[in-house]
């Protein structure tokens, strides 16, 4: 084993580029990734970039009305109260709905994490709203919670109310539909995160003298927090892009005039593709801002337990 031989073998290795690439993970296996990447570039990145380009080609009418040349669409978006208000309307719907779904799911997931008769049956039933879909939920809500529906009829006949409640074709109707589609999702996610927490940790806290509240606040909640943040984001994404129910059980020209609806109207009714793309892209921007804030808050509050998807 002399220095000469080892130097020789070293220099040989530096000559092999292929090997050094393989060392860093660049090898023939990567070809398997190519179809998916090409696909994403063609059907996601390209249209997206094209859409962004479109936003800078406003229609002549928009330019005349709002000025600003290339940026007319954006000026219109921010200055046209009819359009810009829908940012607020969307948030007013999506944030409370997502928060409600997550917050209500926590105690329920906690109480129901033990084994009891019919648990599997209940969890299977929770999948049912998925088979309904948004359009169907809307139709059902219109019938069930409408002025002559069973709900109002029951409440009136038992004397709880004297006049039928207005539960659909307004903000409440959309909120209900967001809960019906979002709650099972939030519950199933949170209970699976909860089952990932080692029960012996709580047992350990118990032996150290922590009571129920302390155990929840000091041990379980911090461990659950990243999962809650993820669940919140996913339910928020669902609620934020609400579209059919806002039209069907909401008040499409008033309280539930959400961004998705505005974008669609510009697209198919006004045939203003550039304005439609502007609204659509601003919608994505607003959503990503909210997600970013949640992520920041998560890493700020729970430095210890974050990392990975959580």
């Amino acid at each position: 084993m002399t220095s000469a031989t080892s130097t020789a073998s070293r220099s040989k290795s530096s000559a092999s580029l292929r090997h050094r690439l393989a060392e860093r993970g660049v090898d023939t296996k990567l070809w398997l990734l190519v179809p998916a990447v090409v696909f994403a570039l063609l059907l996601f990145v390209y249209p997206f970039a094209y859409g962004i380009g479109l936003t800078f080609q406003p229609l002549a009418g928009t330019q005349e009305k709002w000025g600003g040349g290339f940026f007319a669409n954006y000026i219109a978006f921010f200055k046209d109260a009819f359009v810009f208000d829908s940012v607020w309307l969307t948030m007013r719907l999506a944030l409370p709905a997502a928060l409600f779904n997550v917050i209500v799911s926590i105690p329920i997931a906690f109480k129901l994490r033990g084994k009891f008769r019919g648990k599997r049956f209940m969890q299977t039933l929770l999948v049912l709203p998925i088979t309904l879909g948004t359009v169907l939920t809307a139709q059902g809500l219109l019938i069930f919670a409408g002025r002559q529906g069973w709900l109002n009829r029951f409440l009136m006949e038992t004397g709880i109310i004297s006049e039928p409640l207005q539960l659909v074709n307004n903000y409440l109707g959309v909120f209900f539909s967001l809960v019906i589609s979002g709650f099972p999702f939030a519950y199933l996610l949170i209970s699976s995160y909860l089952s990932g927490i080692d029960p012996s940790l709580e047992a350990a806290a118990k032996t150290l003298g922590a009571n129920w509240k302390q155990r929840f606040r000091r041990v379980t909640l911090p461990l659950l927090a990243p999962g809650l943040a993820t669940t919140f984001i996913l339910t928020f994404v669902l609620a934020f892009s609400v579209f059919p129910s806002a039209r069907l059980v909401g008040d499409a020209s008033g309280d539930t005039r959400v961004l998705a609806l505005m974008a669609y109207r510009a697209f198919s009714e006004q045939l203003d593709y550039s304005m439609a793309s502007t609204i659509a892209i601003m919608m994505g921007v607003v959503e990503l801002i909210v997600i970013g804030i949640v992520f920041l808050g998560r890493s700020f509050l729970y430095k210890g337990s974050t990392g990975g998807k959580g």
């Binding site: 860093r24 993970g25 296996k29 990567l30 990734l33 998916a36 696909f39 994403a40 059907l43 996601f44 249209p47 094209y50 859409g51 329920i108 109480k111 033990g114 084994k115 209940m122 039933l125 049912l128 998925i130 088979t131 309904l132 879909g133 359009v135 169907l136 939920t137 139709q139 059902g140 809500l141 219109l142 069930f144 002559q148 069973w150 009829r153 019906i180 909860l194 089952s195 990932g196 927490i197 029960p199 940790l201 118990k206 129920w212 999962g227 994404v237 934020f240 892009s241 059919p244 069907l248 961004l259 998705a260 669609y264 793309s277 892209i281 919608m283 959503e287 210890g304 990392g307 990975g308």
Partner: protein
Amino acid sequence: MSNSTLKSTRPGRNAPPTEIVNIRNRNKSSLAPGEKSLVASPGTWFVWFGVAAFFIFLFGIVISVLVDSFGKPWFDTWLPENFTLGWYQEAWNRFDLSHIIGVTLLVAFAVIVVSVVIGVPASYVLARSRFPGKNLVMLLFLLPILIPPITFGIPLATVMYNFGLGRTVLAVILVNLVPSVPFVIITMTPFIEQINPSIENAARMCGANMWQVFTKVLAPLLVPGILAASILVLVRTVGMFDLTFLVSGPTSDTLVVAIYRAMTSAGGGEARQLISSMGVIYTAMMLVILIIALRFINPTQLVAQVKESRED
């Protein structure tokens, strides 16, 4: 509490449907003596009230639609005066439902096949290799799931119309692939990570080449995962409204879109019962698909089996 303790017990991100086992274990330890007294708290009432309210709404919705679809006239009463099957017949003929259901199934099937063929190899690479730019690729696959469908749907639809694909079945398939391929990739990655790489090495040491490793070892092990991902893609695609709606036309509408169009068509929409009967058909179709799919596999069981033999 130290960082490492927390890290090691972080909720398992790859633990999807195997939670039943965990619940059983936990139950033993958490129901210690003294715990009982806490159970009858107001919290419990809240929980049961919440669950009950949810199910009342859920069943109210489902049964309302069901009853409505059979009701002759149903206005100001608890139940309709008469029952009939006529609405189904009318809906079937009026909206050409056999064509619409055919389109729906064709789209769903095509989306599943293409997204599995494209997505599974990609998720294999993402689960097994580290390479420069991996995070960028991950982001590329996460974004279509994370941002609202309308946000990329409108530019995508514009491009489709530019290429003359507007209102075709092909366009419907293509737009549905955009979230489905990433979805398959992201659901399959944990499944692949669960398979110990030494099983692949063992196959190679037995003389199997890369292709044989894939077909003889990985594919059978991944069948449960692929089926699970396929079911989810199927449910998402059949239920996908936003994207389909943007590019579909009369001959390429899927069932959800057809129902929406019937509900919102000019002149106050179609008769409510017609829509309800279509809704029942939709839900029935979804349920049949799910039941058939679940008959073929029990994802929980198969995943647990793979895991078990890897752990010991």
